[in-house]
Amino acid sequence: MQKKIQAIRMSMKNATEVWGYLKSVLWQASKPLTLILLMLGLFSGLTLIAELLAITTLINRLVEYDPSHGSFGMAIQSLLPWVVIFIGAILIKQAAQSIQPYISMQLQEKASSILKEHIFSKALQLDLESFETEDYYNQLENAKKAINHRLTWALESIGLIIASIVELVVVIVAISKSGILLALVLIVGSVPLIMINLKSTKEFMKINYQQSPTKRHSQYWMGLSTSRQTAAELRLFGLGPYFLGKWERLSEQLIGELYTARKKMAWLRVKGETILILLLAMMMIGIVFAGVKGTITVGALVALLYMLNRFEQAIGQVSGHSETLADFHYSFQYIPRFLQAGKEELASGLQAPEVIEQGIQFENVSFTYPGSTKESLKRINLHIAPGEKVALVGENGAGKSTLALLLLGLYQPTEGRIVVDGVDLTDINPIFWRRKAAAVFQNFVKYQLSATENITFGNLADADNEQKLTQVAKRSRIDAVLRQLPNGYDTLLGKEYENSKDLSGGEWQKVAITRAYYREADILVLDEPTAALDAQSEYEVYKQFSQVSEGKTTLLISHRLGSARLADKNINLQAGQVVEIGSHDELIGRNGPYATMYHLQAEWYQ
């Protein structure tokens, strides 16, 4: 609790930084539009002077006007200038108000594109490890929400606050002519209201912050209740009422907490407003007395009442827009915060060797996931020769996929180093290094895009090579499937759009394999490429394996030890450590854990 409040305070301290960032984005979007938008608010405040002046004079003249002496023509003649000023002021104000949305929208669109661009660039520059943390997703979520919060609202609010302050000053000056005391009372009376409004804004921000974990929990239960992924289990296990109950409890709690806070704040506000209204009433009584005593004209009296009304409105505007501004600040700060968080990937470094000659050497490599206390890999030492085919086997959670990610330079070792031809991999520009590599990950991406894009994403530099596309697709036996689709290779894959076609799990896997083959890389990682495939498809994949991996350094992760025979070298990982290394025959001969595993599996086929 104490910490949270402190966090809020800290964020207040960062205010200058946040607004500095906002300013730079707006400047980049359009300096003139930003200034115009600010000026429009000020401008509409100034029109009030004309409006007030006109209306008081108008009313005064009308009141003093005696219908028995004079005609309509005469009246119009004396009043016309004031009518024109009044209408003119309103017309100018309304014209300003109708171009404002256009300017504001234009600025907003530009600014939000810039913000999104910043966010995406940041996300794309982050290292892979950042994606493993909950923090990242929270910050991303908050930053995205902040973009939806319109930037220009902040500007408009600032403009309107300035305008309202101008109005307040105008009214106070006008009133002070009837008596300095009146003006003073007015100023003093509005202070509590403004204080209360500020306090309640702060209070709601605090509540919002405190509620966010509970909110996420309740959304999670709601998601479980309605998502496709849980639909089958929910029905089979009869989980509906349980999920609903969990959600309901949390949602009631949230509503209850908010209601308590709201009641408290409403009461405070009522007190503040009543104080102001009573003050105004007292002033009115004073004015009426003055009227009675004849020190003030009826016209001036009416004008005063009109002004008091405007005063009240302006006060409301100031506090209302301050709230918007505070809200805006609260959510907007997440964008600069997101842009500063996380570790960015190195984008510079040495060239990767054209041809790997000595191979890849793991020297005492350890790796721990961020936020975890357990080492996933412990002091790994191994050598992979150029063109060597290595099979990585081992239990679930032994660190096989992690090792592959380190090899690809997607993770950096927490200790030790990976050396390529004598150069530390962390010194090589990851962009150059990855150009040499391709992979089929265990949970590869099903891009909801065309089949062509799904494959050519493997090598965008060579994206227009149709001949290569079909050749590679034929090799992984997916060409025939893709050809049969309504628009052939241009068909959108997946379920996302009306005209897209979904593939089966096995077909998707073949597309992912094709994508990896499209890259013509020197290093190829296959992470359980056949887990979901039937016997026929599995056979095909492995049959091609030898063909495709020809001349490439290949890392194959598989639970099917039979397929490990295809490799030159087998590495058996257990609990993050290498327990055995050797060719299939060697390891079988050694009769260690690998041999035991192999026999276990082979038994089924005896």
Binding site: I59, P101, L124, E132, L254, A266, G506, A535
Partner: protein, 606 residues
Amino acid sequence: MAYSRGQHQIIDKLKAFYSRWVYMGKLFKLIISIASKEMAIMLVLTISLGLLPLLSIFSLQQLVNAISQLGDAVGFPSTTILWMALLILALVLQSVGNIYGNMSRDHIQERIKARIQKLIISKTHKLSLAQFENGELYDKLQRANNGLENRLFSTMAFTFQSITHVITLVSLLIYLLFIHWSIPLVLLVGSVIFTLVQVRLFIERYILDREQTTEMRKLSYFERLMTTREAAREIRLYQLGNHLKGNWHALNDKLRKERLGLVRRESRLEMISSGGNTLTFAFVLTGIVYFATLGLLSVGQYAAFIRAVLQFQSDMSNLLWDIALIDNDLRYIQDFFDYLELPEETVSGIELLEKSLVKGIACEQISFTYPGSDQSVFSQIDLAIKPGERIALVGNNGSGKTTLIKVLLGLYKPTAGRVLVEGIDLQEADLATWRKKCTAIFQDFHKYHVSVKDNIAIGQIEKIDDYNQIKKAAQSAGADAMIQQLAAGYDTFLGKEFNGEELSQGQWQKVAIARAYVRDAELLILDEPTAALDPQAEVDIYKQFQDVAQGKTTIFISHRLGICKLADRIIVLNNGGIAEQGTHDQLMAENGHYAGMYRLQSQWYA
């Protein structure tokens, strides 16, 4: 020609507009049925808030009149005091009413929102699983689920606001009518231009909005790809960042230009309409001068009059704005009602007795086609399963294995034929009593972000606090040792969502198997339970399986054909039907599809 086509378009839009507004009635009926008390409070608030402006204007007029008639009289006459008190009361009521009105509205909003969410969740629970597989229906579900409750309520809130505006407008019109009959007429005529312009703008906004929907989805797909873990690895490996960002940029710029074009037109029209408004005001003002010269107006009426006209115009524009917002929301509300009217799964029927299966399960000529698809998954399958029988289901990817078991579980209804359990057609049976007898681990089992204990207990949610039972299930699934090693044992929180521990795919699979085992069922179904498991774990699972399955009817699906030897009968699905069935030896002797697949696989272990 082009003009008349445009006209047609507008007529179509208006028709669509009308058909949407029909849903207003439905919405109100629904909301009254779930929150009648809250609605009554809202209504009273709405009407009172609508009438208060008139009260304050009227008392202002009377007050000014009273003061002006005081003349040089001595003392403080009671009528002046009365009107002043009334004015103060009106102002206080207005501000208190606004504060408490807003507060109650917000609170009621949340309560109603929660109830609507509950309605959606409960409805979702009652849908059949097959409905989740249909792309179009699923879209509807997604749309109904995503933030719709906000729209439902905002529709309501805007409706109430419009009622407030209408009441204020009507009361002001009547008030002005008493001053002179021509004033309301002028005001109404003056609002016509304004209204027409607004209607024109609504229509344009729809057209653009609808045109942009698909592209907006594509845009957000790109956003998701760039920022989530889903594609983080491949984007880094294949250097897709700039390509994706470029695509996003191009699409975003295009959409932005379209939107800005509309806003530009909007602001031009807005200028015209606000000009019209000001002219009307000028006209009325001239009128007042004229009436004054005729001696028709009292002093108080001047003051009140100007305020009334200004209030009228601002309420009028607010009203139109609210209607636009309601109309926008109604487009989505149609989806909501369509959703509530979706056919529900029939769960009630003949109850299956608690005693164990005697006659077994029989499929008679069952066929299945996914809704919205024209290709059957399988057709006219006959299959009898004896109680206690152990069946292995094999076949290529996409041969319908998973679909068949979902039909057996009563999760899908066969499109033709019937499934008999103990001689009772599942379509006539009480599905809840049938599902109580079944348990399953699905291929795409869900990873719940709750504690390990709860993850397992989900298989039998009534036993959520029965540690012994849960531990036993975990032991049978070979998960116990792994769970013991976790930081907090069975109470360890899993999943990244709430900062829990992340398990490897294989570890998750063990947890899911324990989930299936915790249910004391008679029919046990395992859909590729070991795809992601290492050989040792796989063997353990199947060894344990033989114990757990003792006396139970079991069906398992596996691509590891060696494992099928465990089954009493192997059923081979191919081309939408049962291709072969028998024991392993029988099928090998038959030398058909199965034998071919088996040999393909076993050669890895030869």
